[in-house]
């Protein structure tokens, strides 16, 4: 029901959605988020992106986030797959797929997972622009998005 994975091979978001919902006729809604590599950031064209992570901790962090989501919204399933290493524009960076009996839980669960992943899972982006390589800075809006879930309790 929960599956988390980190991989350097290209992601197949559709496969994750299929594996999530197959054979469970209690599922009424599947919400998925696909994060794609954009070709620009802060006004500069981005040619490549390199994703570093903390092997071992990454998987634990994703598992914990998925478990919290499943428990909090009584989800029927949750899959998180994140790519690491080198990638190019338009390629998927992350897929979060969440299944629930009703749609509201699926939306909340999926958004919760990606919000928490953005601030708690040990990934770092380094982008290559025409001016060379640079580490991507964390965005304050991600912290705001994360805090929202705590205020709601």
């Amino acid at each position: 029901m929960i599956h988390v994975r980190v991989q350097s091979e290209p992601l197949d978001p559709h496969r994750e959605v299929d594996l999530l919902s197959q054979g469970n006729p209690a599922i009424g809604g599947v919400v998925s988020f696909i994060g794609l590599m954009r070709d620009s950031n802060e006004g500069d064209r981005v040619e490549h992106l390199f994703l570093e992570h903390y092997p071992g901790m990454t998987e634990k962090a994703l598992q914990k986030i998925a478990e919290e989501a499943v428990e909090r919204w009584q989800l029927e399933g949750c899959r998180i797959v994140h790519r690491v290493g080198e990638m190019s524009p338009c390629e998927p960076i992350v897929v979060v797929a969440v299944a629930a009996r009703h749609r509201k839980a699926a939306f909340l669960g999926c958004e919760f997972v990606i919000d928490y992943l953005k601030t708690r899972a040990p990934f770092w982006k380094k982008e290559t622009t025409q001016n060379g390589e640079r580490w991507v800075d964390a965005r304050d809006t991600d912290d705001v998005a994360e805090r929202k879930w705590q205020d709601q309790d």
Binding site: H53, Y54, M57, A61, V94, K118, P122, F123, W124, W135
Partner: protein, 83 residues
């Protein structure tokens, strides 16, 4: 021993991916940070108190006052940017 690991910008600017400390040398994360800052240069700059430093102890997010014990794995890294 305590294993200390550095990631991303920290690893690059500190020019090392990790080192080991005697367990008695730092009883909390903050005590460890204080010793590292004393090295000056990139150490002082990146780990300054006003800087955002994320900490993991045994691969779980931790705080500055988290106690350290023999065998612990401590990781220091900048705010994460995945997803």
């Amino acid at each position: 021993m305590i294993d200390v690991r550095y990631f991303a910008r920290f690893r690059e600017e500190l020019a090392t991916d990790g080192e080991q400390f005697e367990a008695g040398q730092a009883e909390t994360v903050e005590a460890l940070l204080k010793q590292l800052r004393a090295r000056d240069g990139a150490w002082a700059r990146l780990l300054a108190e006003e800087q955002r430093v994320m900490i993991a102890v045994n691969q779980e997010i931790a705080e500055r006052n988290t106690p350290l014990n023999d065998g612990d794995e401590v990781a220091l890294f900048p705010p994460v940017t995945g997803g």
